[in-house]
């Protein structure tokens, strides 16, 4: 049974330029915030309760903001712009001042990666002055930790991901390069652990799930590469996922590691089950390519949102696949059209998201495929 594709929960308008970066900050008690970085260098702070921009921060002198994150809480914002700078913002108590800036020297599109190493201490991986260089610095001291330059000619570094595995003492870094290869670095040793040619084209984006030791990467081609690390930190490519239309700008694995979303150049956001990479939904709303994605990190899984920023200057917010409780499949979707005899609170909440519910059950794959395929066919 094919159902109409879900509609976004809300669309945030008024950014005025393409949305290159998104970041949620949801602390208990305060209204959840969404930071968005625009192509014109402004950072919008959206209050998700009122769904309006609370503040607009200007700090990258008009150069596009490509990456955003928060330190501590939502009060310290870190933003990376294509003016070759990384800015630290103090947003506490209504301030909006740049407290510190860091010159990266990178003119590329590679987004930074942040890793919290201890209370009040972070490692920031950012692209360096040389095209293929990744630099890692310590925050807040800004002291350089290391610089990682591959021996082989891999071209420009396109995307990086820094994390701290349980097994090894030092953090690891995954980097995707212009020639389509992925390289796993051991940061403490400054050495390459392994590498793999994941794509024939430049790696546009990647995301990695440290718990499952699995990752996924996208490129400008019509497929997603998925790979995993074995016990010896070797990258092993798995079956790629075929796409209808080429080009992926960003991949994002949700915090609960159940779904992964892709931002497509075909104006669509695709949602896959993370376990088997089954295609679950195609979110069609934007009228231009989707550039950025972010999942929110609320305590209550039912409030979790997916935000997609597009070149059409809108951010769409989606409330999807956030009803389910854990079950044996690990990914059970309870149908929102629950029986009318209801428990009040539940039904109220269920009703709120009723319209936005994708109407599929993971177990009923036949159903699911029918409408996914339909929407894909209709797209050209």
């Amino acid at each position: 049974m094919a159902r109409p594709a879900p509609a976004p929960l809300y669309t945030l308008r008024g950014a005025g330029s393409p949305l290159n970066a998104l970041h949620f900050s949801c602390c208990e008690g305060d209204p959840p915030l969404l930071f968005s970085g625009s192509g014109q260098g402004s950072v919008h702070v959206w209050n998700l309760t009122t769904r309006r921009a609370e503040r607009v921060l200007e700090g990258h002198s008009g150069a596009s903001v490509i990456w955003l994150n928060t330190l501590h809480s939502k009060d310290t914002l870190i933003s990376q712009g294509r003016d070759m700078r990384v800015c630290l913002w103090d947003l506490a108590e209504g301030r909006s001042d740049v407290t510190d800036t860091l010159w990266t020297g990178s003119v590329g599109f590679c987004r930074c990666s942040l890793l919290e190493t201890g209370p009040g201490r972070w490692l920031l991986a950012h692209p360096g002055e040389a095209m293929e260089e990744v630099k890692i610095i310590d925050l807040p001291s800004k002291s350089p930790v290391c610089s990682l330059i591959p021996q082989a000619k891999l071209g420009m570094v396109m995307c990086i991901k820094l994390w701290q595995p349980d097994s090894s003492p030092g953090p690891l870094l995954l980097a995707g390069y212009e020639d389509g290869s992925l390289v796993l670095w051991d940061v403490s040793q400054r050495s390459v652990l392994s590498s793999a040619a994941a794509h024939p084209e430049p790696v546009m984006c990647l995301d990695f799930d440290p718990a499952r030791q699995r990752g996924i990467s996208g490129s400008s081609e019509k497929s997603l590469a998925s790979w995993m690390l074995d016990g010896q930190h070797r990258l092993q490519l798995q079956q790629p996922v075929a796409l209808v239309n080429p080009g992926i700008s960003q991949l994002c694995i949700r915090g609960d590691r159940k779904i992964v979303a892709s931002a497509g150049w075909d104006h669509r956001v695709r949602v896959f089950g993370w376990k088997k990479l089954r295609s679950l939904a195609v979110l069609q709303h934007h009228t231009d390519m989707v550039i950025s994605l972010a999942f929110s990190d609320q305590q209550d899984p039912r409030n979790r949102l997916l935000a997609a920023g597009s070149k059409d200057q809108r951010i769409s917010l989606w409330s999807i696949y956030n009803q389910g409780s854990d079950s044996d499949t690990g990914f059970s979707l309870r149908h929102a059209h629950s029986p009318l005899k209801h428990e009040r609170a539940d039904s109220r909440r269920a009703a709120q998201v009723r319209d936005y519910w994708p109407h599929i059950k993971a177990k009923h794959c036949k159903d699911k495929h029918s409408w996914v395929d339909l929407t894909e066919e209709s797209s050209t």
């Binding site: 509609a7 976004p8 669309t11 709303h285 109220r348 009703a351």
Partner: protein, 1136 residues
């Protein structure tokens, strides 16, 4: 005694009679003197009992002061009593005089001895009763009865405290009984109101419960007991008879009724007093001491109390039903006193009466008389306090209240069906009163499912709406609503018609009941319960929604007057959650998008039907605002008017509800706007008048609650929320077809500040239109039309059509009057030029002019200049004004208009007539908006010309009509651009058609004005003149136009066509006055022109000397415009 003396003195000073009195200025205070003074009269009276003697004595009595009189009391009373004791028939007059005299004495003295009291009492009673039966009154005059009763009253007031209680000893029971029966009989049967009242007052005094202003014996605890137990014997008689008095004749004036009520409750309050009954059986006399009298004595045992209270309850109910809605407020006030007194004193002994008493009390809470209201409120407060303070009775009292409430709720629907409005108001007041008294305990009561069920069912049944009114479905709202103040809107609000009542007060009472429920009750419980009813059946839906609206208001504390404090006030968060869930239910697909239109138009409608529809819209003057939206979801099954009305009301009530919720939440409602504003706007654009007005009202409520000063502000501030939904729903028109409507409403209420965000949406619309060309284009055209209309309003074009035309007309007139000389000068100049005198010699002309003319020249100068200015091409002016703010980037609205116009070009040749019509409308607006930027308009006009031309020439008449309108609009800006095209391609066709149609319309009957051809003729004639003017058409075209139009000057044509034709000529006259003067005069010339000099040729016009014909009237009208009086000759001719 002081007061008595005081009174006495007053009486004295007022009635000084100077008969044989030594000292005129004060009374005799010496007992001896007094005795000597009174003695002769007393003696005489004993011997000769005549009225005169009695009067002599009583006059003399007035000269003796009180103290002295007291000493002589027995002496003075003796002859008087003697008269009463004389056996045999007595004259009424004498008795009356005696009674008055005794009364005077008793009023001014005290009775100290028991014997005197007893004897006087029996003697006076004997005067009244019939000799056979001491309990029945004898026939006697009214005056006599009044006098004796007054005397009795005085006696009872005069009795000393230690004496008077002897009256109530059991031994006195028979005598007392006789007196009481007598008084009761008088009170009941007497015709005179005064006597009735006096008898009742006496009765009151007899039970020592008098409430007059005089001194009274103070009754102690023990005495009161005795009194009570004695009166218990007479309680049945008193209560029955007095209640008969109360309920008997409604005409006997309020004084008697009030008095009777007083007697009733004082007596009952005395006998049934709780404090007396709590210790019974102590100190009662032994029966053997009394003998037969014992039979009369009543033992107030538990059983007796129970029985009595049962009986009393019956009487009480009768009394209450008679008096609670009494016309006179004093009666109602007395009822409140009754309830208060009995509830205060006999709460437990009168168990069965508590219910009715409370009912009476609460029924008066909303009395129209403030005194009653205040008294009642005070009484209720006491009741509530008592009920809350005394723990033992607390539960019982609440039980009684809730029991009452339950039974009232049960009978409410029946009462509302059967009784009259006045009684309904009373019943509802009672209902409301119960809720208010229960107050915080309401939560407990409503926790009982039975109670809640009862109350809610009662409300559901009572609030049933009458949905048979046909007008509701019929009334249509106009497309654009101009923003008005909130007050103005409210005036139109339609009244709800209920099945079971009509009075507005009843509805407001019901609403207050709901609010009080919400105020004291548990909001969650109530909302859940009524929400279930709402969902349960469509029968209850409207009522449940009404109740919910008010419950929420009440929960927020709005409109709950004088309520006591609540124990737990629902938090704002709770309220918000509740409101959100209700709104969600209200605006759910199945409850919000109800069919409200008769599905007369079908989507795939045949041509004929469409024509009909369009005709309708033309005749109504409504812009072609079809409703394909409705059609998409139109339920094709025939729904009855009844259902439609019901649906309309349901939507209205839900809209009202949203307004109420906004009021309840105040600023907190702002967050809910995200979900609720869009649905409200959806309905504001509804075609049913009632719904759109309800929605506007709701919008006003919302803006006030959320602190917006106007609807515009409300929409502007929240346009992001609205547009989000709009853009989402534009993509899902199949499910949510109302997005265009919302846009329309937004546009009509908003201002240009909306534009930046709208631009985004317009791109969505256009994109969607481009993608799905066929199915959805009518929908999108609606959106585009409203958009362009809004743009045209927001950015009014500097090229204003009509005012401009008026301006030139005026100038032309002035020109006509002043220009004769100028004309000659010009003529002369032209001639000279033609002959060969160079233009360079222009300056030399002036010296040739006579000096006097020079002056005139000066005055002429400005006029001519002025004329040139206004006559100069508008395009130039426009360019001037546009000059400074020329930008590289076009303003957003111009871009939008261009984009829209682009689409129109494609859609103009759509096969669907309906769509073409709509597109023509959109096109017209586009032209209006673009007229500001000629550089943008002309290329677009060029591109759309072929399609437009087709519409003008070969399409359906309806389309021609619209296309012609577009042409006229276009003509206002693109003059030169259009001139050639119009003259070549349009004018011949139109004129040919007009000529062809003229004989048809001339012959046609009155029905013709309803035909399409007529409308087209009218439109063409109305627009043609202006078009010719604008385009500055050439002579040949003008000739063609004239020729085609002349037949319409005939008086045989329909009047409107004649008028339109006149307008054409007026415009043409502006263009070339002389030519048309001639043309008209050739048709009919009213006057003859004789040349001033015989050498000149006589003027010969073909219209001269004609008989009055069909053209005469209109030609004359037009000639009048030339401002040439018939007797003056044209100046030009004269000078030649």
């Amino acid at each position: 005694m002081l007061t008595r003396n005081h009174v006495r003195y007053k009486i004295f000073t007022n009635k000084v009679s100077g008969i044989c009195i030594q000292r005129m200025d004060h009374q005799i205070d010496n007992p001896k003197l007094a005795f000597a003074y009174l003695r002769p009269a007393c003696v005489l009276l004993t011997h000769e009992p005549t009225v005169g003697n009695v009067e002599t004595l009583s006059t003399q009595l007035r000269h003796v002061n009180d103290g002295t009189l007291q000493q002589l009391q027995d002496y003075v009373l003796f002859p008087l009593r003697f008269i009463l004791k004389i056996p045999g028939p007595k004259r009424d007059g004498l008795i009356q005089a005696v009674a008055e005299a005794i009364g005077y004495v008793l009023e001014n003295t005290c009775v100290q001895s028991w014997e005197t009291l007893r004897d006087l009492l029996s003697e006076l009673c004997l005067c009244l009763c019939s000799p056979m039966d001491p309990g029945k009154p004898a026939p006697a005059s009214e005056e006599l009865r009044a006098a004796v009763l007054r005397c009795l009253d005085a006696l009872l007031h005069a009795a000393y405290g230690d004496v008077v209680f002897k009256l109530f000893e059991p031994i006195m029971l028979p005598g007392l009984g006789a007196a009481i029966s007598l008084l009761l009989a008088l009170g009941e049967q007497e015709k005179s109101r005064t006597v009735q009242a006096a008898a009742l007052k006496c009765l009151q005094a007899l039970t020592l419960q008098c409430d007059c202003s005089l001194d009274h014996v103070s009754v102690g605890q023990e005495e009161r007991r005795m009194l009570g137990s004695t009166m218990a014997s007479f309680l049945p008689g008193i209560t029955i008879t007095v209640s008969r008095v109360i309920t008997g004749d409604m005409r006997h004036g309020h004084a008697v009724t009030v008095r009777a009520i007083k007697v009733w409750f004082k007596t009952v309050g005395l006998v049934m007093a709780d404090d007396q009954l709590q210790h019974t059986g102590t100190g009662e006399r032994q029966p053997w001491e009394l003998g037969r009298v014992w039979e009369l004595v009543v033992q107030r045992t538990q059983d007796w109390v129970r029985n009595t209270s049962g009986r009393l309850a019956l009487l009480l109910k009768k009394i209450i039903s008679c008096t609670s809605a009494h016309q006179h407020w004093r009666v109602r006030l007395e009822m409140v006193n009754l309830s208060d007194h009995l509830l205060a004193n006999c709460n437990s002994s009168l168990g069965e009466c508590v219910g009715p008493l409370l009912e009476a009390l609460v029924g008066a809470v909303n009395d129209e008389e403030p005194t009653v209201r205040e008294r009642c409120e005070a009484a209720l407060r006491e009741v509530a306090e008592r009920s809350q303070s005394s723990d033992s009775n607390n539960q019982a009292f609440t039980d009684v209240l809730s029991e009452n409430l339950h039974s009232l709720a049960t009978s409410l629907p029946r009462l509302m069906r059967t009784s009259d409005d006045q009684h309904k108001v009373f019943v509802l007041n009672v209902f409301l009163g119960y809720l208010k008294i229960l107050g915080p305990k309401l939560i407990v009561v409503l926790n009982s499912a039975a109670h809640l069920q009862r109350v809610s069912k009662a409300l559901m049944q009572v609030l049933e709406l009458d949905v048979m009114d046909v007008r509701i479905v019929e009334e249509r709202s106009s497309a654009v609503t101009v923003e008005t103040g909130p007050g103005l809107h409210r005036a139109y609000a339609q009244r709800k018609h209920f099945l079971y009542f009509t009075d507005k007060i009843i509805f407001s009472l019901l609403k207050e009941i709901c609010r009080v429920l919400g105020y004291y009750g548990n909001v969650y419980l109530l909302v859940d319960h009524f929400m279930d009813l709402y969902k349960e059946s469509s029968v209850y839906r409207k009522q449940a929604a009404m109740v919910l609206n008010e419950v929420i208001k009440g929960a927020a504390g709005i409109g709950v007057a004088g309520g006591t404090e609540r124990q737990e006030v629902p938090s704002q968060e709770d309220l918000k959650a509740v409101v959100e869930s209700i709104i969600e239910e209200y605006t759910g697909l199945s409850h919000w998008h109800l069919s409200t239109l008769i599905a007369e138009e079908s989507d795939r409608g045949e041509h004929k039907q469409q024509t009909q529809f369009s005709l309708l819209s033309i005749s109504n003057g409504v812009e072609g605002k079809g409703n394909p939206l409705q059609l998409v979801q139109a339920v094709h099954k025939s729904s009855t008017i009844h259902e439609l009305n019901s649906n309309i009301w349901q939507i209205c009530i839900q809209l009202e509800g949203i307004g109420c919720f906004a009021q309840a939440l105040g600023m907190d409602f702002r967050l809910i706007l995200m979900t609720s504003l869009y649905p409200v706007l959806e309905k504001a654009g509804d075609e049913t008048l009632l719904i759109s007005q309800a929605a506007l009202d709701a919008m006003w409520d919302i803006s006030q609650a959320c602190g917006y000063a106007s609807l515009k502000e409300l929409i502007n501030e929240n346009s992001d929320y609205l547009l989000n939904d709009v853009s989402l729903n534009l993509q899902r028109l199949g499910i949510h077809p109302h997005a265009p409507r919302v846009l329309t409403v937004m546009f009509s209420h908003s201002d240009p500040s909306l534009l930046p965000l709208v631009g985004d949406i317009v791109q969505d619309v256009l994109l969607a239109l481009d993608l799905s060309y066929d199915e959805t284009s009518p929908l999108f055209c609606t959106v585009l039309h409203s958009l362009m209309k809004a743009l045209a309003r927001w950015f009014p074009s500097s090229v204003a059509g009509t005012s401009d035309a008026l301006g030139t007309k005026k100038v032309w007139r002035e020109q006509d009057q002043l220009n004769v000389r100028q004309f000659l000068l010009d003529y002369n100049k032209q001639k000279e030029l033609a002959v060969g005198i160079g233009a360079e010699e222009e300056g030399t002309e002036h010296p040739e002019l006579p000096p006097s003319m020079d002056c005139e020249e000066d005055t002429d100068g400005p006029d001519v200049d002025c004329e040139e200015d206004t006559d100069g091409p508008d395009v130039d002016c426009e360019e001037d004004t546009d000059g400074p703010d020329v930008k590289v980037e076009l303003p957003a609205h111009i871009t939008i208009a261009k984009d829209v116009m682009e689409r129109c070009i494609h859609l103009l040749s759509d096969p669907s007539l309906r769509l073409r019509l709509k597109v023509l409308d959109v096109l017209e607006q586009c032209v209006c908006v673009l007229s500001e930027k000629e550089n943008e308009l002309l290329p677009m006009a060029h591109r759309c010309w072929p399609a437009l031309l087709l519409r003008l020439t070969t399409d359906d008449p309806l389309a021609v009509l619209r296309a012609f309108r577009v042409l006229c609009t276009l003509g206002e800006t693109c003059r030169d651009f259009l001139r050639k095209r119009v003259s070549k391609e349009v004018v011949p066709k139109l004129t040919a058609w007009l000529s062809k149609q003229a004989p048809v319309s001339a012959r046609a009957g009155p029905v013709y004005s309803h035909t399409l051809a007529y409308k087209l003729q009218l439109a063409v004639l109305q627009g043609l003149g202006a078009l010719c003017c604008r385009l500055d058409l050439g002579d040949s075209d003008l000739d063609a136009v004239t020729e085609a139009c002349l037949p319409y000057l005939s008086c045989r044509q329909p009047p409107k066509l004649q008028e339109a034709c006149l307008s054409v000529f007026r415009h043409l006259i502006e263009l070339d006055p002389d030519a048309f003067w001639l043309t008209l005069n050739e048709l009919y010339c009213p006057c003859s022109y004789t040349p001033p000099h015989p050498d000149l040729q006589p003027v010969e016009l073909s219209g001269m000397g004609l008989q009055r014909n069909e053209y005469t009237d209109n030609v004359l009208k037009l000639l009048e415009d030339f401002g040439l009086p018939e007797d003056t000759q044209p100046a030009g001719i004269q000078i030649q």
